[in-house]
Structures are given as structure tokens and as C-alpha cells.
């Protein structure tokens, strides 16, 4: 995902001279193609995330389209006041890019895990929040971010994510993609959790359970229509995200479902309101904290086996 993003960024820099690339002293060698394609429009501000975001805002006020890159918690949490005031409140055309979604940084530990970045960005008025699920989608999301006028947070995984989406999949901000259309249960996922959601749908299919698989490359604005339609069809929704279950993608889904009156059962899979203190790789931590494909499939089975609580008279 990361490499696909940087290839797209270099293309964007070559095509549009308003595009700048800023980094908070991270990304060894990754900006070389951009520098070659867009000389004079790459800037390393040093280890200074508040300045990263503030300078990006200043460039945006001058008509530029800056991409400000760092590890996800550093650009969203460390510099949150600049994101809130200089970017969101001012409506600046800044593209924040956070690499290392969820527990992608594995053994580096909780300081580097992004378990709250969706919460911190989606709460901000006017912010568009993108979380692509595979390399090709990361490139398309970067292009969509550049074309969109206004603040964007682009949440990237790290590297090595498999190709999971159809080659001709379209990326439209605010639109979910329906990858399967089963009638038994809905698995709704975002970002790099697409891998676990896809695995879960396969496991369920092996058991004869037909799942709808909805991938949300955009967390905000949320594709409520797609979710409500799936809820109406299946009556049971499992959300999957590499993020805390608090205030992220599953919470957004819960808000929409509760107000829609769709009456679907809901189970949120994500980090269960904990930092990932355990030490291990991304895949280890995904299993350890209950986000693996089998965990998601179990959550879906649990919804299907649940007794229905009807009002008694």
C-alpha cells in the first residue's frame, strides 16, 4: 500500500504543479521519485509534526495542494491541534497522510499503532477520511484526495498488503464497494481490515453462510445508504476495523444503524478498547486481539445464532 501510494504521489506531482510533498523526517528513499518528478516541491520539515501540518496549511492557503506525511499517530494525534485549527476549522486543502494503520507497525509498540486516528479525524467537521484496503485502491485514493477540494486524511497500511479488490474497482469518495452480496450476514470493513474481512467471508462460505462483504474505502462521509441496504437485506452486521472499537468505523456504523431504524444486529470487531501492549508482528497482534479472519467469522456466526429478544406483553 505504501509503495503504491508513493508511485501515485510522484505521478500527481508530475501532473499538477500545485502538488507538494512534506514529511516529518520519515520515509527513507520513498520521496525520491516525487523529488525527481516535482523538483523543489518536496520538503522535510524535520521531526516536528506541528510544523509539518502548519506549514502544509500555509502552502494550502497559497493555493498549493500539500500532502503531509508521517506515521499515522504522529500526524493525527501529535499534531492534532494544528489539524483541528489550521486544516479543518480553516477548511484548508491539505492532504494528511498517515502510514501504519492499526497495528501495522507491530513490534514497534503502541506509540506507533494507530488505534485512534479514525476517531480523531472523523470527528472534525469538513474532514474527509479515506482508508484504502489494497495497493491499487491506495493509489486511487491518493488521486481522489488530490482532486477533492478540502481537508483529507488518507490512512495507509504499511507494505505487503495483498491485492484484494477487482482491478477495475472504482474509487469514489463516500462510496462503499460491495464485493459479495450474500443474504445471511453483512461484513462491513474499512482499510487494511479488508484482508481479515475477506478471509472471514471465505470461511463463512465454507460453512454455507452467504455473507455480503462491504468495503468502505471512505470512513467519512460514510456511505450510509450502502450500510442500511445491507442491514435491511441481511439483518446482521459485523464491522471490522484495525482501530479501537471506540469512536472509529464501527461506531460510525452503529450511529447510522441506530438512527436508521433498520433494526439490524451489530457486532463491532476491532481493538477492544485497549492499547496493543502485547509484543508481536501485525499478524500476531491481529490474532491476539481478536481481529483475525476466524475471529470475524466467529462474530458473524455468533450474530446468526443469537436468540431474538422480542418484547413480552
Amino acid at each position: 500500500v505504501r509503495d503504491a501510494f508513493f508511485r501515485a504521489l510522484a505521478r500527481l506531482g508530475a501532473a499538477d504543479e500545485r502538488v507538494w510533498a512534506l514529511t516529518g523526517d520519515l520515509g527513507v528513499g520513498l520521496f525520491d521519485p516525487f523529488e525527481a518528478a516535482a523538483p523543489g516541491r518536496y520538503l522535510n520539515v524535520g521531526i516536528a509534526e506541528q510544523t509539518l501540518v502548519g506549514v502544509a496549511a500555509g502552502l494550502a492557503y497559497a493555493g498549493k495542494v500539500p500532502f503531509a506525511y508521517s506515521i499515522a499517530p504522529f500526524v493525527t494525534s501529535r499534531a492534532h491541534d494544528q489539524v483541528r485549527v489550521d486544516v479543518a476549522c480553516a477548511g484548508a486543502n491539505v492532504k494528511l497522510v498517515g502510514v501504519g494503520s492499526g497495528v501495522s507497525y507491530g513490534t514497534l509498540g503502541p506509540t506507533h499503532h494507530a488505534i485512534d486516528d479514525l476517531a480523531l479525524t472523523r470527528v472534525l467537521p469538513g474532514m474527509t477520511v479515506l482508508a484504502p484496503g489494497d495497493p491499487a485502491e491506495a493509489a486511487r485514493a491518493a488521486e481522489a484526495a488530490a482532486s477533492h477540494e478540502g481537508p483529507v486524511y488518507l490512512r495507509l497500511g504499511k507494505n505487503g498488503e495483498p491485492t484484494l479488490l477487482p482491478a477495475d474497482a472504482e474509487f469514489r469518495i463516500g462510496r462503499a464497494i460491495e464485493l459479495r452480496s450474500g443474504g445471511d450476514v453483512t461484513i462491513a470493513c474499512t482499510g487494511t481490515a479488508l484482508r481479515e474481512a475477506t478471509a472471514a467471508a471465505d470461511l463463512l462460505a465454507d460453512d454455507g453462510i452467504d455473507a455480503t462483504l462491504l468495503h468502505f474505502g471512505t470512513v467519512k462521509p460514510f456511505d450510509a445508504a450502502a450500510l442500511i441496504a445491507a442491514a435491511a437485506r441481511t439483518g446482521a452486521i459485523v464491522t471490522v476495523e484495525e482501530h479501537s472499537v471506540v469512536a472509529g468505523f464501527g461506531s460510525a456504523a452503529a450511529e447510522i444503524l441506530a438512527e436508521s431504524g433498520a433494526g439490524a444486529l451489530l457486532r463491532r470487531v476491532g481493538l477492544p478498547d485497549t492499547f496493543a501492549h502485547a509484543v508481536g508482528s501485525r499478524d500476531y497482534l491481529v490474532g491476539r486481539y481478536g481481529l483475525s479472519g476466524p475471529d470475524v467469522a466467529d462474530a458473524a456466526r455468533g450474530l446468526l445464532e443469537r436468540d431474538v429478544a422480542c418484547p413480552t406483553t
Binding site: Q50, G54, A57, G58, Y61, K64, A90
Partner: protein, 266 residues
């Protein structure tokens, strides 16, 4: 009218709008607005060249009324509208400025944001080959914010030629005198150590301000302006409580006692 008298008259006109607006709204933050009136008056009347794309960013957002007032005098905003709409229900002018207001270049209020944003603008100018200047004003208490020094360091390193920082050194911050809370003196030496050109002026001396603000330089410049909080209102001058005190209509004479009785030019 001589340049000197003209600027003095103009600064008083700005102060009148600041005081009328504060009185109409019954609001505070008067002292820190008054301390920058002379700086902004010289900046907007003598220094900023609209044709070159010069711009001003107010980082110490709590002095918004001074910005609105000087923008009103410059014809960007309407003075009566500012007085009627500052910190009022349904008014257009909040206690801290926002970019959607005409003439306001920075959404401010959370301190320590302005330098990095100004640096971004100055870098864009340099990349585009414009000789515009970006002026950014912050308070001496605001210098406590670490984000200021991140950006000061990077600006000294990258050295875009159009960046100008003005420190309104009125000597007071939230809970007391800067010297007692967190002294960062000597200020000019600190900026010089980060690679900035510096100057040090009396922030109420119009000729000195015009010289310092307009001085040509090929690096970022930090102008440390020594000011008096509440300047122009004897009851507020140098008073810590000038940050917090508000006035009722019957106290009007206290506010306007220090201003010239010069009539507005038609």
C-alpha cells in the same frame, strides 16, 4: 498633516473602534489588542504593499478586535459593522479571528500556530518567485508554546526571504508577568541564534516601527516590539487585569480618556 501626526491620528481611530467594540459587547481582551494597535497601524498604513501580495497573520488571536479595527480603517471591513458585530449574538466577528472573515489570513485563538503557517506561505512565495512578504504577529507569552520554536528553527534553516515575525512584547501573560511566569529573554538573541535577522524597537514609536517593518532583508526577520499592555487607556496601561477587565456603558469615559479629541477626517 505630517506623516507622524497622520499615523498618530490613525492609531487613535483604530483604538476608538477597538474600544467601541469592547464597550458594545461588554467583553474583555482589551489590553492585548491595545498593545498592538500602533504596530498594526504602521503595518497597514506604511508597510504592506497590496500590489506585491504582502499579507498579515495574527497569531495571538485574542487581539482580534485590533485586527478587525485596522481592517475597517483600511476599508476591508465596515467599522460600524465591526462595532455592532464583535462578540455579539449573531455577529460576524468572533473573539478570535477566522479565515472566512474578509482580510483575515489565519484562523487563530489556539496559540503557537502562526509561525508555521506563515512559513508555509513564505515558502510558497519563494517557490513561485514572488517577492511578497508574510508578516506574523505573536505575543511574548505565546512564545511559551513549543510549536513556535519548532517553526522558528525551521524558518531559520530554510530562510525564505519574505518571512517577518513581530513579537508583541507587552510583558504579560495569562497568570502574571512574563518575567515571572516563564522568561525567555533575551528575545532578540534567541531569534538571532536560530539564524534570523532581528530588530528591537519601541512598539509605540511609529517611525521606529516603520523602519523595522519595512527594512529590506534576504532572510527571515524577527522584530521584537516592546509594548505596553492597554496602551492608550491610562486606566489599563501596564495593568495585568487589562486582559480580563470589561467595561459597562457608564464607564465609557475611563476608556476614552487617553485619546485625542481629533475629529475624524471627512
Amino acid at each position: 498633516m505630517s506623516m507622524r501626526a497622520d499615523l498618530r491620528h490613525e492609531a487613535d481611530a483604530v483604538r476608538r473602534i477597538v474600544l467601541e467594540a469592547a464597550l458594545a459587547a461588554g467583553t474583555c481582551h482589551i489590553g492585548g489588542s491595545l498593545s498592538i494597535v500602533d504596530i498594526l497601524t504602521v503595518l497597514y498604513r506604511r508597510t504592506l504593499r497590496a500590489e506585491s501580495g504582502d499579507r498579515f497573520l495574527l497569531s495571538k488571536g485574542h487581539a482580534a478586535s485590533a485586527l478587525y479595527a485596522v481592517l475597517a480603517r483600511a476599508g476591508v471591513l465596515d467599522a460600524a459593522d465591526v462595532i455592532a458585530g464583535y462578540c455579539r449574538d449573531g455577529g460576524a466577528y468572533a473573539g478570535h479571528p477566522e479565515r472566512h472573515v474578509a482580510g483575515v489570513e489565519l484562523t487563530a485563538g489556539s496559540l503557537g500556530h502562526g509561525v508555521a503557517v506563515a512559513l508555509g506561505r513564505a515558502l510558497a512565495d519563494r517557490a513561485d518567485g514572488r517577492d511578497s512578504r508574510t508578516f506574523c504577529l505573536l505575543g511574548d507569552g505565546e512564545l511559551d508554546e513549543g510549536s513556535v520554536w519548532e517553526a522558528v528553527a525551521l524558518a531559520g534553516h530554510l530562510a525564505p526571504p519574505g518571512l517577518r515575525l513581530i513579537v508583541d512584547a507587552n510583558g504579560f501573560q495569562g497568570l502574571g508577568r512574563v518575567q515571572e511566569v516563564l522568561s525567555l529573554e533575551p528575545l532578540p538573541e534567541k531569534f538571532r541564534a536560530f539564524g534570523w535577522v532581528t530588530s528591537h524597537v519601541d512598539g509605540h514609536d511609529h517611525a521606529a516601527l516603520a523602519c523595522a517593518l519595512g527594512a529590506p532583508a534576504r532572510r527571515p526577520v524577527a522584530i521584537v516590539a516592546r509594548t505596553i499592555k492597554g496602551y492608550g487607556v491610562p486606566a489599563l496601561e501596564g495593568e495585568f487585569m487589562s486582559h480580563y477587565r470589561s467595561f459597562r456603558p457608564h464607564e465609557r469615559d475611563i476608556l476614552f480618556a487617553g485619546l485625542d479629541e481629533v475629529q475624524e477626517a471627512a
